[in-house]
Every structure is written in structure tokens, then in C-alpha cells.
């Protein structure tokens, strides 16, 4: 029996130490995910809290053959999406009213930036773009799946993603230029 399996078993028995251990093990990684989906750290922590409550509530449904981290991650993503749907301040921004397709950007710039910097750029996207981008680019959902989860058309998802990607690339390039200028200026 692996450590993880034992940990899950102990958590299922209701051992507080095991539960805290599980939380400590995954909280930082999961907060990174929640952070990408929300607009503020407080909201991200709310999602994290809600997500972990669900993790412990449904831990008995976890099958030990899969990776525990992936299972928790999936719960966090679903919790984040539900949070966006239920939270009024995200609802307006989450509306997907632009079904027009946008041309795929040919740009594939090298991302020379920290993860948090990139996450902050992603968080500057409108919530709809942000959500679709996170789900497709990072979590790997297909547009069909995204459409089903968010209740939108596949085409809408694709369109939102393209716009998000183009915007993000522009911002990254701009960020790179500014960084270089700053670098030169520093010299």
C-alpha cells in the first residue's frame, strides 16, 4: 500500500492529522489553479476551501488506481466553475455573447515569464475568455467538453479561446518588449 493510499484510508477514518496532511500536500498546487480562474486571491481561497470540503466529502468515491492529485484538481476546477456561475460579480463577465470565430493566431511566442506573472495576465482577461482559456490550454478540455460544462456552443468556446489566446499573446509580447527595454535601460 502506497503512502497516498494509506493517507486516503486514514482520511476516510476521519483522522484529523491525515486530513491536514492531505490538505498541506495539495493546497499550494490547488490554490494556483483556483487563482487562475478567479480575479482575486480571496476568491481563490474561497474556492480552495469549498473544493477541499468536497474532496473530503467525496473521498470515498476516489479510486486509488488514479492519481490523487489529478482527482483533486478536477474537483477544484469544477468548484471554480461553479463558483463563477453562482457568484454574481462573475456572472455578467461570464456571458458568452460573441460567437464569431476569430482567426487563429500564428504566433507562438516564447513565454519568458514567471507562472504567477502569466497567471496575472490570464486573470486580466474577461471571465469568459479566462475560463475557456484555462480549461482548454491548461486543463486540456476539448471545446465540446467545455461547451457541455459551461452550457455554450462548441463554436462559442472555440471563438472565446481564440480571442483569449490572441489577447494573451499580445500582452506577453508587450510584456517581453517592456522587459527588454527595462533590461537595456538598466544597462
Amino acid at each position: 500500500m502506497t503512502d497516498y493510499q494509506q493517507l486516503v484510508k486514514d482520511c476516510l477514518k476521519g483522522k484529523a492529522t491525515a486530513q491536514q496532511k492531505l490538505y498541506d500536500l495539495y493546497a499550494e498546487q490547488m490554490l494556483g489553479i483556483c487563482y487562475r480562474y478567479t480575479k482575486s486571491l480571496a476568491d481563490a481561497e474561497d474556492v480552495l476551501q469549498e473544493g477541499f470540503v468536497k474532496v473530503f466529502k467525496y473521498l470515498h468515491q476516489y479510486r486509488s488506481d488514479g492519481e490523487l492529485g489529478a482527482w483533486i484538481r478536477r474537483i477544484m476546477v469544477n468548484t471554480a466553475i461553479n463558483y463563477l456561475k453562482q457568484n454574481s460579480k462573475y456572472q455578467y463577465d461570464l456571458s458568452f455573447t460573441d460567437p464569431a470565430l476569430h482567426p487563429v493566431s500564428e504566433d507562438n511566442p516564447q513565454v519568458y515569464m514567471q507562472a504567477k506573472e502569466l497567471a496575472n495576465l490570464v486573470r486580466q482577461l474577461p471571465t469568459g475568455y479566462q475560463t475557456v482559456f484555462n480549461m482548454h490550454a491548461v486543463e486540456g478540455y476539448t471545446h465540446v467538453e467545455i461547451g457541455e460544462i459551461l452550457g455554450i456552443n462548441e463554436g462559442t468556446s472555440r471563438s472565446q479561446y481564440m480571442r483569449a489566446r490572441n489577447l494573451l499573446i499580445n500582452w506577453i509580447e508587450k510584456h517581453s518588449v517592456e522587459s527588454k527595454l527595462g533590461l537595456y535601460a538598466g544597462k
Partner: protein
Amino acid sequence: MPENDFEKQVQQLFNEMRLKPSAEVWPKVNNRIRKEKRRKSTFIWLPLILLLLGAGGYWLLQSNNSIPPSNPITKTTPAPGNDNADISSGAESIPKVNPGDISKTNQQKIIIEVPPSAGNADTGDNLNNDGSGSGSRASKGQRNSVKPPVNIQALDNTKQQARPVVQLPVPDNAGNNKIFNSRNNNLLSKQLIAAQQSVETRASLLPGVKTEKILNGITNDNLFGNKLNAAAETTPVKLTKKKVWEWGISGGAGVSSVSEGLFDLFGSGSADKAFLNAAPNAPNMSNNIGFLTGQNSLLAALPPPASTVKKGLAWQGGGFVKRKMNSRLAITAGLGYSYYSTNRAVGNDINNYRLSLGNTRNDANANYAGYYIGGQYINYVNRYHFIEIPVGVQWQLSKSVKLPLQLNGGLSFSYLANTTAVHYHPQTGSYYKDNALFNKMQVGAYAGLSAKIFEKTQRPLYLGPVIQYNLTNLLKPSANLSQHFMYAGLKAEWVLWKK
């Protein structure tokens, strides 16, 4: 460069992203987990506790019922003398001791008195050394051949249902009578047997508790035959869940009328007065009326008075729901259709002439469906169709098993869906229809008494009289008249479902 290089880079960056949550998050998560756990355990334990309580209650009831209720003895039963056909056929004889020695003072008690020196013809053989007695005769189920030298006095009052207390004086070692009581009146037959048995045994060594033990082997058949068995039959107690919700259909029929106010209910009703007499929006037909009726202008200028509005038939139908709040109080609500009517005498129908009334006011609204010239010729039925929502309470007055009575009261909110009622036009003495003059929304108060019939069945019926008085004026304020609807009749409510 492949298209998804950007995505790969992003994915890689974000997969490595870590953010340290604030210290408040874990305690919150922990609290919620504990709460969830407590709630879960409550959900698990609550049914178990309820189940146990239910089982305990059921067991208690069953144990109480396992001993048949006594048949209240209503008169003094002398000890059987030579006639012992029901008791024994034996030949042994025990001398009678104090046949009338049972106290008559306490009617709640059945006292079986056994004197300490009562017959010793059959003593030592039936007793063990500890005094408990082997009960060789009794335990073997042999017929007791001994006539009990007892006299039983029980309740004189046949209506008295209180549990009799059996007091069996048993002599202790000192020779004094000890009385042990049994609250359980169902043990009457056994106690009688005990008395018989104690006569046979050595009384000075017979503790009461042991006496009962001895007697356990003796069946009622052995001693008293079927008579006592029949009296000792039990009534099974049904443990059914108390149902608080009742749904059903309701209906009723009676008479309806209109009045000027509550005082009309008890005095001379305004039904005799003009109904709907002076509607201000009445069409101005004074110039045409003579023409229409062929009357001369003088007659037309002196119109006949409004005819009397008489009571009419009414009926109601609908559904109801009832929720019992406690053993006596219930809240009821319903939805139904009510038809009310009143009668009045009108003249000829001149509806055909209506189109010729060029100067009638409001004619463009087409409110006036017909006109009747005043005159006592034709009976006209004013029909009213209401949709009603009665909301009220039901109070159980008596808990009579045969016919429980309920007092009903509440408010009825109704909507006048349609009416064919006519208004009286005092200037012309004619009658005309104008539904716009009616208050469509009505609020009434109702009260009634109902008896619950077939109470023991799954679908009981409530039946009784009901009166209703509409607090809202039937006419709009513009009519400047006070008219209130009244209804009196019989109402039935049939419960179809209970939950």
C-alpha cells in the same frame, strides 16, 4: 513552430505554479468537515434512535396488551355453592370461609380475601420446603375441585372503566394477612385461581408472589371455562402513524341572498328592498323608454318600484386540504367553484330593442347585455359564478367516538368570474346588466359546524351546516349601495387521501 507550443509552455508554467494559502483556510475547511460529519452522524443515528424508541413503545404497548383487559365485574358474585359445573367436578371439599367477607367500601377494588386458616385439607403435599409450593395440582393443569370460598365484589357502577385493583391478602408467617396488589386487572382470573389455590395450600407459608408463580400453570379453561376467556379477550391496538394531512373534495348546496348588512341576517332582509337600485352609470333611457314599451310619456315618467330580490339556489364544489396542528385544531384551505343565485321579477325582455338606443351612455363598452322594463311579469334569475379560496380553521368540539363535532370558521377569498345579475334603473324602472358595477374580488367570512361521519374509515366524511357572509360590498363604491352576499347551506367534505 507547432501551433500548440504556446499552450505547452503555458501548461508547463501553470503546472509548476504554487501559491501558499493563508492560515485561515485550513481551520475553515476543518470546521466544515467536522460539521458535515456531525450532520452525517445525526442522519445515521436519528433514524436508529427513532427506530429504537418506536420499537420500545411498540413493545410496551404489546406487553400491556398481551394480558387481556378485564371484564369489569359489575355486581357481587357469590361464591359458587354446589353449582360448580364451570369450575370443578372434583369431589374434594373445602369448608367455606367468610363468604361475605370482602370489603364493599372501595368500588375500585376487587378484593379476594383468603383467611389464614382456610381449609387445610390439602396442604403439605403442594408445598416445597421454601414455601413456594410445587403446585402439583395446579402445575399439572388438573382441575381444581375446590369451590373457592370467596366472594367477589366489584364495581357497582357499570360505566366505571377504571382498572380494578386486585388485593389478595396472603397470610405471612406471622399469620397476618398481607395484601398484595396487582394493578393489572387482566390478572383477575389468575387471582381468582390464586385464591382457590391458596385455600388448598398451607396459607401460613404462602407468599403472594409465589402464589402467582404456582398459578401460572393453570389455564382459564380449567377453572372457568369459556365464559371467562371470552371476557378476557383482548382488543388489539393498531400502531398507525398519525396522519396530519388530508385532501379531499367538498361540495354543498343551499340558498343565497343579498343583504345590506349583517343586521339583515336577523331582521327583515333587504332582499325585500330594491337590489342594485340606483347605479349611477345606468344607461339614460328615459327618453326612449316610452317608445320602447309603448307606454305614454307620463307612465314612463313614473316607473314602478324595484322588485323584491328573493333567495335563490346555490351550490359549491371543489377540493380542500387540511393539516392537523394538534388533536383538536386543524388548518384548512381549498379551491372551489360556487354558484349563487337570487330571483327577482322583471318585465318583458326588450333586449331586441337595445340597438335602437342611440343615446345610452357607455353603450360603446357593450356592458349592457339586456334591458327589462320594470314590471312583475317574469321571474329573472341573477346568477353569480365565483371562484373561491376558503382558508380557515377547524376546531374539534367534542371527541365523541360516535359523532365527533367540528367547528369551522375562516375567510373565503373569491373572484366573481361571471354574472348575469341585472341592476334596477330607478329613473326608467328598467333592469339592465352591467358587470362593471360589481366588485370582482370578494372577501367573506364563514362559519359552520360539521360532524365527522365514518371516522374510523380511511375516507371519513364531514357534513354539516355552514353560513357565509361576504364582507366586501358586492357593488363598487360608485354604485353607492351596500349589498353583501349571504349563503347558508349544507356542506360536505369527503377525505380522499391522508398522509
